[in-house]
Structures are given as C-alpha cells and as structure tokens.
C-alpha cells in the first residue's frame, strides 16, 4: 500500500512546477498549460485524501469533477483571449501584450 504522503508529495511537486511555469514563461499558451498542471496537481490531492480517508460518497472526488469543469471553461476562454489578442497584433508573449496599459 502506497502511503498517502507519497501521493501528496507528487501532487505538491507538480503544483510548484506549474506555479514556477506560470511565473516564469513568456508564452501565453504555455502559461495556460502550466495552469492546467496546477489544477491537475490539486485533483490528485483531492482524490488521494478522499480515497484514503474513506470519505462517504466520495465527497472529495466530487470536487475534482468541478475542477474539470473549471479547467475546461478556463482553457476555452483563455485561448479565446490569446487568439483575439494575437489577431490584433501577432505576439503571444505576455510581457508584450500591454495594450490596456495606461
């Protein structure tokens, strides 16, 4: 039986990888991917706690279903924003998209 701590460790590592990616990368599409990694790391923690503590009716896993919904919505809208910004000016780097800066 794998200890619960091992799952939480993997989840935390993936979360911080994603976090570093969001802070560090320039490309907007890659930043979206890193956000997905962070959401997925959270999913692993949810499922691990839910399964190992024997939650009634998989209460923890239900939140994973909601995270899936959020992730899909976020990617669709995020890519929409990136594409419409790209159509105005062909850049995808977040530090060059500053049209709304005063």
């Amino acid at each position: 039986m794998i200890p619960l701590g091992a799952y939480i460790f993997v989840s935390a590592v993936l979360f911080f990888i994603g976090c570093a990616g969001v802070l560090v990368r320039r490309n907007a599409v890659v930043i979206l991917m890193c956000v997905e990694l962070m959401l997925n790391a959270a999913n692993l923690a949810f499922v691990a706690f839910s399964r190992r503590y024997g939650a009634i009716d998989e209460r923890g896993s239900v939140f994973v279903v909601f995270v899936f919904v959020i992730a899909a919505a976020e990617v669709a809208v995020g890519l929409g924003i990136v594409l419409s910004a790209y159509r105005n000016r062909p850049v995808v780097d977040v530090d060059e998209i500053h049209a709304m800066k005063g």
Partner: protein
C-alpha cells in the same frame, strides 16, 4: 506468491512520468512538444487515479484533459505560430525573484507532505456509485451552477474569437476581386 511489489513499482514509474513531463513542459522550447508532454502528464495522472481506485475520475481525466483540453491547446499553438525563439528570450525578467519565491513556499510544503498519513482505508469497490450519489444529491445545485458556468464560457469563447461582421465582409469582397 503475491503481487504486492507491483504497486510501488507502478507508482514510482507514474510519479517519475508526472514530474519529469511536468518539468519538461516548463523547460522545453518547442510548444507542440510541450503540449504533448502535458498530455503525457495527464495520462500518468490518470494512472495514479486508477492506483487510488478512483477509476471514474481517471476516465474523466483522460476524456477531458487528453481528449479535449490538449486538442484545444494544440489548436491554440497552431493558430499562434511563432517560430522557436532563442533561449535568452524564453523566460521573463522576474525569473530569479520568482524562483526564490516559489522555492521559499515549496520547500516547507514538500517537507510537510510526507507527514500526512491516513489509517488503512476500508476496502471498497470502484468510486462510480458513490460519486454519482454525491453529484446528484448533496452537490446537485453546484453541479447545475457548473453547467451554467460552462455555457457562459462557451458563449464567451465564441464571442471572443468571432470575427467582426464588417471585417469578414471586407475580406470576402477582397477575395471576389
């Protein structure tokens, strides 16, 4: 003869896959490769869900992340084609500060992670009946709200990416000429 040694081996392979592919997504220069590696991370994650006995969640994971989100992101990559850039232009200015910041939070959390321990769970079957019961009883209202959110996101994405009517007519006229 027992097969108890299989589970740790599978877990080790999956965790190496998750962490290595996740790190490569951040570090690799080619965006298409990063998108595929992200899909690989998601697949390994689905394997972890199966190890935990949450097979429904694993199936949803593959269905939504690999089948839909990765394909969407690949679409995004193809429509915003920018050539491979030199490695110097790859990271933002705040990289050192960001790295220190992340490390400062990450190290204590990672040290704490191993301290979690649960009593041996009661043996259970799959998670399908429990999950379905929860979603359609106690969490029915959030579930409906989530569907409204999805609808809003769909409308928003369509409005954001729709070309203006005038612009479309303009290009059509140009093509005819």
């Amino acid at each position: 003869m027992t097969f108890d040694f299989v589970e740790p081996i599978v877990f080790a392979m999956l965790s190496v896959g998750v962490i290595a592919a996740g790190a490569a997504v951040v570090l690799i220069n080619r965006i298409t490769a990063a998108a595929l590696l992200m899909a690989f991370t998601f697949l390994c994650m689905a394997g972890m869900f199966v190890l935990l006995g949450a097979e429904t969640i694993a199936a949803f994971q593959v269905l939504i992340y690999v089948g839909a989100i990765t394909v969407l992101i690949l679409y995004g990559v193809m429509f915003t084609k920018s050539g491979d850039r030199p490695y110097a232009l790859f990271f933002q200015h705040q990289t050192p500060i960001a790295a220190i910041f992340v490390a400062a939070i990450a190290i204590p959390v990672l040290l704490l992670a191993f301290s979690f321990n649960a009593p041996a769970p009661p043996p259970r079957g799959g998670d399908l009946p429990g999950l379905a019961t929860s979603v359609f009883t106690d969490f029915a209202f959030p579930f409906e709200i989530a569907s409204v959110l999805l609808l809003a996101a769909m409308v928003g994405a369509i409005v954001l990416t729709k070309r203006d009517e005038a612009e479309g007519a303009d290009t059509r006229r140009r093509e005819r000429r």
